[in-house]
């Protein structure tokens, strides 16, 4: 009896919400390419893991191709991979764009051939040639989260800080920094002073030396905010090596496994991130649903992405012509929870 009652309630609930997102059906073979900014970065490997999980759930008979350029050849390499995937006639390409608008001609060529182009992690700034962007978090919120962490670490007295970003053309980092600047206008953050923005190109050595250069240039700087997992780890190591952790703190977006020692020894007391495994998982579901024609890339389209639940495609508030799917939320890490997060 109870069973029937539950079924009845469920049916009623279904009837009451006619716009319920339908689950993505698996079983079709679709060739798909997952293209990170470049190979050899832990978070991209995690995204790959998540995408493989989704591929297994959707029983895609075609093996997922995880292809990426080398860091020093990122722009030309991404274009080459997108072009070759277009030649091969794959069903969908998932790009974490590191080439700014330089990827547009290649992405457009793919899109014109009927290939679904999904960006994740970092979108195409003009959205040209792109179907939809799977946003890890709300880009406006990222700025606020960074401003809040700066305030947490520097305390009510505030102080000077600087930003150590990835490459100057990384669309994601650039819009996070812009949204942080916006957030800083709030009187709440009046005592925070942004000295400079420098770029480590997501290369450890370059980021390390940029962090040291900031210390030399701004003797009163008390914090380096690095919205990139490579930059934050390199900056924390630089401050630890220079024995400056008491004077200059590090924060930003970091991977718990890479940051745990710096958080425990006080160099990087607080940082934030989202799950890259989930991001890879959701990107795969999105690209698969688009490529199999189950979902159209248009404002208001809904679908159900496995264990992560329902998502809606909406207009991207940070890019005029873009569409996005918002994942979220942020996880903040500090001494109390960072060790657990590495397990």
């Amino acid at each position: 009896m109870k069973k029937y009652l539950l079924a009845g309630v469920a049916a009623a609930a279904l009837a009451l919400t006619p716009l319920v997102a339908s689950a993505v059906d698996g079983g079709k073979g679709v060739k798909m390419v997952l293209l990170p900014k470049f190979l050899g970065i832990a978070v991209f490997d995690q995204a790959h893991k998540g995408a493989e999980e989704a591929a297994a759930e959707l029983k895609n008979s075609e093996k997922l191709q995880f292809l990426g350029p080398t860091p020093e050849n990122s722009v030309a390499g991404q274009i080459e991979i997108v072009t070759n995937a277009t030649t091969q006639g794959v069903g969908a390409i998932m790009i974490s764009n590191n080439s700014g608008d330089q990827i547009v001609p290649a992405a457009k060529a793919a899109h014109d051939k009927g290939i679904k182009v999904v960006t994740w992690d970092s979108p195409i700034p003009t959205a040209e040639g792109e179907d939809v962007f799977v946003a890890q978090v709300d880009f406006k919120e990222t700025g606020k989260v960074m401003a809040d962490m700066a305030l947490d670490i520097l305390g009510a007295d505030g102080g000077e800080f600087a930003v150590l970003s990835a490459s100057p053309d990384a669309a994601n980092q650039n819009s996070w920094i812009a949204s942080m600047k916006d957030a800083l206008k709030d009187p709440k953050y009046a005592k925070l002073k942004l000295d400079d923005i420098v770029y480590g190109n997501d290369q450890s050595e370059k980021s390390y030396s940029q962090a040291n250069a900031l210390v030399d240039k701004y003797p009163n700087m008390k914090l380096i905010m690095a919205p990139t997992t490579v930059g934050i780890a390199a900056a924390a190591k630089a401050m630890q090596d220079a024995k400056l952790c008491d004077k200059v703190k590090i924060s930003g977006l970091g991977l718990p496994a890479e940051m745990v020692s710096y958080t425990m020894n006080g160099c990087a007391p607080e940082f934030a991130l989202w799950s890259f495994v989930d991001l890879g998982y959701l990107s795969y579901y999105t690209a698969y649903a688009l490529a199999t024609g189950q979902v159209k890339a248009e404002d208001g389209a809904k679908f159900h992405a496995g264990r992560m639940g329902d998502f809606t495609i909406t207009k991207d508030p940070t890019r005029d012509k873009g569409l996005r799917i918002l994942m979220g939320p942020f996880s903040k890490y500090n001494k109390t929870n960072v060790e657990a997060a590495t397990k």
Binding site: L67, G77, E80, Q102, P105, S167
Partner: protein, 322 residues
């Protein structure tokens, strides 16, 4: 028959066999390899480098090297970006960018030809200096939004299935081939590369030849930079960074001696085909990133070692016989 055998024993013969093997692998591996679109892309994805490799061949045969080519490419792209975004018309910006390449090339040439400094040092300074100038112009921004005709040059087929960039390469290849192998100037390039002192004493105008070659290298690099900007549709300060090594790889694999005086354009042409087909084949086989780089690196190591080793072994045998 024996003529054919001796042909195949030469470096170009070896490259030709290698090319056949690679193309065989590509055809076997991917059904889309032979499509017109793919063959065009195969050239298009590296077209700027192979254009610069042509003038690099002349310089290396002449006993010099130009490490600044990629920085000149970046500089000319950034000059165009900066000028266009400061309201200068596109054709004028393009001419100024080409002129900037000529000036950069002449500057290199002056120090090498007239002052007598080693080109390795001079153009290394150029590599750093011209890149710096490019970065000052565009700072950390990305400049796009060029006129449609400019983007079309790099992105869309204009002449049959071919892009303007590929046609530029074909024309330049013919010009360089004629200059190097069928002109008096070409003979001077070899003579100087073989023995600069002897050439100087026989009244060859060494300075003028070197100056012309460096200037040509500058102009052609600037042109390649513009084609690259047109292909990507957006310019930033790190454009073409590191390309000089790929360009030099193509020339050396072509059998051009790094010490000057020997090598020919046919070898470089074959080496270009080998590298481009290898890259494309690996791309279509979903081999990317470090694996791809390592394979091409290994190819270069073998290309530098193999001829020397063969020579050493031959000499040893000769020593035994006499």
């Amino acid at each position: 028959m024996s003529a054919l055998v001796s042909r195949l024993k030469s470096w170009e013969g070896l490259l030709f066999v290698l090319l056949v093997v690679i193309i065989g692998f590509c055809i076997d591996n991917s059904p889309v390899y032979l499509g017109v679109g793919n063959i065009v892309n195969l050239f298009q994805l590296e077209v700027e480098k192979i254009i610069v490799a042509l003038t690099m061949t002349l310089l290396i045969i002449n006993g010099e090297i130009d490490l600044s080519v990629a920085s000149v490419m970046g500089l000319s792209a950034c000059v165009v970006a900066w000028m266009f975004h400061h309201g200068v018309s596109m054709p004028v910006s393009v001419l100024v960018a080409l002129a900037s390449g000529a000036v950069a090339g002449m500057f290199n040439g002056f120090w090498v030809a007239y002052v007598g400094l080693p080109s390795l040092a001079v153009t290394l300074a150029g590599l750093i200096g011209y890149r710096g100038a490019a970065r000052i112009l565009v700072e950390d921004r990305s400049y796009g939004g060029y006129p449609q005709w400019f983007n079309a040059i790099g992105q869309h087929p204009q002449i049959g299935p071919l892009t303007v960039s590929i046609v530029v390469f074909v024309i330049l290849f013919a010009v360089v081939a004629i200059t190097l192998h069928w002109s008096g100037f070409g003979r001077l390039v070899y003579v100087i590369g073989n023995n600069m002192q002897a050439a100087r004493f026989s009244g060859v105008r060494v300075k003028l030849v070197k100056m012309s070659l460096f200037t040509a290298s500058g102009v052609v690099s600037a042109l390649a930079g513009l084609l690259y900007a047109a292909r990507l549709g957006a310019v930033r300060g790190d454009m073409a960074q590191g390309f000089e090594l790929d360009v030099i790889t193509m020339v050396l694999l072509g059998g051009v001696s790094i010490f000057g005086g020997s090598g020919n354009l046919a070898g470089v042409g074959l080496s270009i085909l080998v590298i481009l087909n290898l890259r494309n084949g690996m791309g279509l086989a979903n081999i990317t990133g470090n694996t791809q780089t390592s394979v091409i690196g290994a190819l270069l190591i073998i290309s530098v070692l193999a001829p020397n080793m063969v020579q050493t072994i031959r000499n040893k045998w000769k020593g035994r016989l006499t």
